[in-house]
């Protein structure tokens, strides 16, 4: 996999292609201070190799989003070790964290597109993070084309459907060819078909270019795209399995029986 232009140019992290996309060792995380200090992540150990699609699931409040934002360099690491694309985030200044983020594609539950910008311009905003962006228009239209939005390039978000908006947001996340993509409930606001289309696209793009995708979701309909499923409960990694094992161990029938036994 080629290093993305961003990583080779930013002063922070040379994209170490040999390193796993994410390597976490003994990560603990707390909210609040003093009396109100509450631990939300307990001794997380996790490796995400390149090219894997990983779905993280678990009940609300289990710390999924916190873990995702930590990996995304949106929060400061308190204790333990967190390496993203070969770069240790522990103890990194907030300015350097900004640099790390440029190698990560973010997809949110809400599309968060600027209403004042066209689809292409929204995508171009991401390209402009690169030191050279003279081909931004071409890059934007190309990726929008790959996501089936050829004829929506110059539409503003208000004239796009929910699925189309989410695809623009995905185009924005992917246009810089980030080696790591973090997605938070990308299908939550979409109907069944749009949601399916979106994840299939993500899967296709990931497989073609050896990207790593970490996706938080409650949406059982899209679990099948995952190479691996991590279940987070109360801040602990409860299970870390392939799709098939997950299906058997987390079969509602099995769970029900366990509950009765308890």
């Amino acid at each position: 996999m080629a290093a993305s232009p961003a990583s080779s140019a930013t002063e922070t992290s040379p994209d170490n292609s040999a390193a796993p996309a994410v390597q976490i060792r003994h990560l603990n995380y707390f909210f609040g201070t003093g009396e109100l200090r509450k631990q939300v992540l307990f001794d997380i150990n996790l490796d995400l190799p390149r090219g894997q699609i990983v779905i993280m699931t678990g009940p609300s409040g289990s710390g999924k989003t916190t873990l995702l934002t930590l990996i995304g360099a949106l929060r400061t690491v308190h204790a333990g070790s967190l390496q993203v694309l070969g770069q240790e985030l522990m103890g990194l200044s907030s300015r350097k964290l900004v640099g790390v983020r440029r190698n990560i594609g973010f997809i949110f539950q809400a599309h968060n597109l600027f209403e004042s910008l066209t689809a292409a311009q929204n995508v171009e905003m991401a390209v402009e993070l690169q030191p050279q962006f003279h081909a931004k228009r071409t890059q934007a239209t190309e990726i929008l084309g790959q996501l089936g939005l050829d004829n929506r390039v110059d539409y503003k978000p208000e004239s796009l459907s929910g699925g189309q908006k989410q695809r623009v947001a995905i185009a924005r996340a992917l246009v810089n060819q980030p080696p790591l993509i973090l997605a938070d409930e990308p299908t939550a606001a979409l109907d069944k078909k749009s949601g399916r289309d979106v994840v299939t696209l993500m899967q296709k793009l990931a497989k073609e270019d050896n990207r790593t995708i970490l996706m938080v979701t409650h949406d059982n309909r899209i679990l099948d795209v995952a190479d691996r499923i991590i279940n987070l409960v109360d801040g602990y990694i409860e299970s870390d399995e392939t799709l098939d094992t997950f299906n058997t161990t987390h079969d509602p029938k099995n769970l029900d029986q366990q509950m009765f036994i308890l």
Binding site: G72, V98, Q109, F114, S116, F133, H134
Partner: protein, 395 residues
């Protein structure tokens, strides 16, 4: 930043103009603050500019006045022989006396008397080079005639040629008009007459009034020869002439008649302070208005801005966006504000005869104030963006 002419997406501009109605409201808000500042500074400046408009029209480089005359309002004439003395100096081309007196004028329509100011001079001297004076020289030579200022206050009655009424209880005939404007020292307006007529009216007005003659003049005008050093001449005259008179430049900064007049009104009245205070208040109103506009933009695009931060945009970039919006607002709000102020200046000037000047310097100063206003608002609003936590966008 751009390569091969490819520019960054103009996010600030697009965000600001996306909602046309909101954009128009924003511009109106800034324009309103600009208008207020223009009006209040306009009134303040009108006070000073009006006081010196007659002085600046006088055809002189240097003036001689009584040492006690610290403003146009004070009726202190000086000995006219000082002017003859001055004429002996090298570099003095000509000297002209100007006689001034305040007097009662009867409104021919309402029969009410109002004070006006009479400016009188030898018609052979080019004292006030106004078109109305040149055109009516012959008529002014007749006894009991005068010119009236068309910009005198309406209280004096019809301001046109042909009016016959009473001035200082004597009949006077208006033979023409000039355009001069009023000020606080001129009562309800200015009249112009010949020095001969001045004597007719003011030589003997009874025991309670000062007798006027050609022995004294109110303002002595000195015209210098081309190329003469005016400042040096002022100094020489001041040294040579007795201390009962004061010699100074007609206008300009420093030791000049114009500056003395401005200083007098600045130091002896609170009007300037009141209007300055109002201007400052408009400035703060503007800050609040612009802050509201920018803050709303930030609040409306909270998650989008946070997303930009998550993507890897720095705080400095977001700060730039908000500051750009502030600058755009300052320019686009200033233009309509200034144009409307211009109309109001013209209207006010026509209505009350004071001078409302919009000089390039004043426009630049007020633009700088508007710019500062928007920048301060931007700086406050930007703190909100900077506190945006990109982690909040998740979940």
């Amino acid at each position: 930043m751009s390569i091969l002419g490819i520019k960054r997406t103009p996010l600030a501009w697009l965000n600001l103009t996306h909602d046309r109605r909101k954009f128009a409201t924003s511009m109106a808000g800034v324009g309103f603050a600009v208008l207020l500042m223009f009006l209040f500074t306009g009134f303040k400046n009108a006070l000073y500019d009006s006081q010196v408009q007659v002085i600046n029209r006088l055809n002189a480089d240097i003036v001689i006045i009584n040492r006690l005359k610290n403003n146009m309002f004070v009726p202190e004439p000086f000995a006219r022989r000082r002017l003859y003395q001055a004429r002996a100096f090298d570099g003095v081309a000509a000297t002209y006396p100007l006689y001034i007196s305040d007097v009662r004028w009867k409104n021919p329509v309402t029969q009410q008397t109002r004070p006006v100011r009479v400016l009188a001079f030898n018609l052979a001297d080019p004292v006030l080079p106004l078109p109305g004076v040149q055109a009516n020289l012959a008529a002014l030579k007749l006894p009991n005639t005068a010119l009236i200022d068309t910009r005198a206050r309406p209280e004096v009655g019809p301001r046109k040629a042909g009016v016959v009424t009473e001035l200082a209880d004597r009949q006077v005939r208006i033979v023409g008009t000039i355009s001069l404007g009023t000020d606080f020292a001129s009562g309800n307006g200015n009249l112009i007459m010949s020095d001969q007529n001045f004597l007719r009216y003011f030589a003997d007005r009874g025991p309670e009034e000062d007798e006027r003659s050609f022995a004294t003049a109110d303002i002595g005008l000195i015209k210098v020869e081309p190329g003469a050093d005016v400042d040096r001449l002022v100094q020489q005259l001041s040294e040579f002439l007795p201390n009962d008179v004061k010699v100074m430049r007609r206008s300009g900064p420093g030791n000049s008649f114009e500056a003395q007049e401005r200083d007098y009104w600045r130091e002896s009245t609170n009007i300037a302070f009141v209007f300055s205070l109002l201007t400052v208040m408009s400035f703060f109103v503007g800050i609040i208005l612009v802050y509201q506009i920018l803050y709303t933009d930030v609040a409306d695009h909270w998650s989008e801005y946070a997303t930009l931060k998550a993507m890897g945009y720095s705080n400095r970039f977001l700060l730039g966006v908000v500051i750009q919006e502030a600058v755009i607002l300052s320019v686009l709000g200033f233009i309509p504000g200034m144009l409307i102020s211009r109309l109001l200046y013209t209207g006010a000037s026509n209505a009350i005869g004071l001078v409302f000047l919009m000089t390039p310097e004043r426009i630049v100063n007020l633009y700088l104030a508007t710019f500062a206003m928007c920048l301060i608002s931007g700086a406050i609003a930007v703190r909100k963006v900077q506190s945006t936590d990109p982690a909040e966008v998740f979940g």
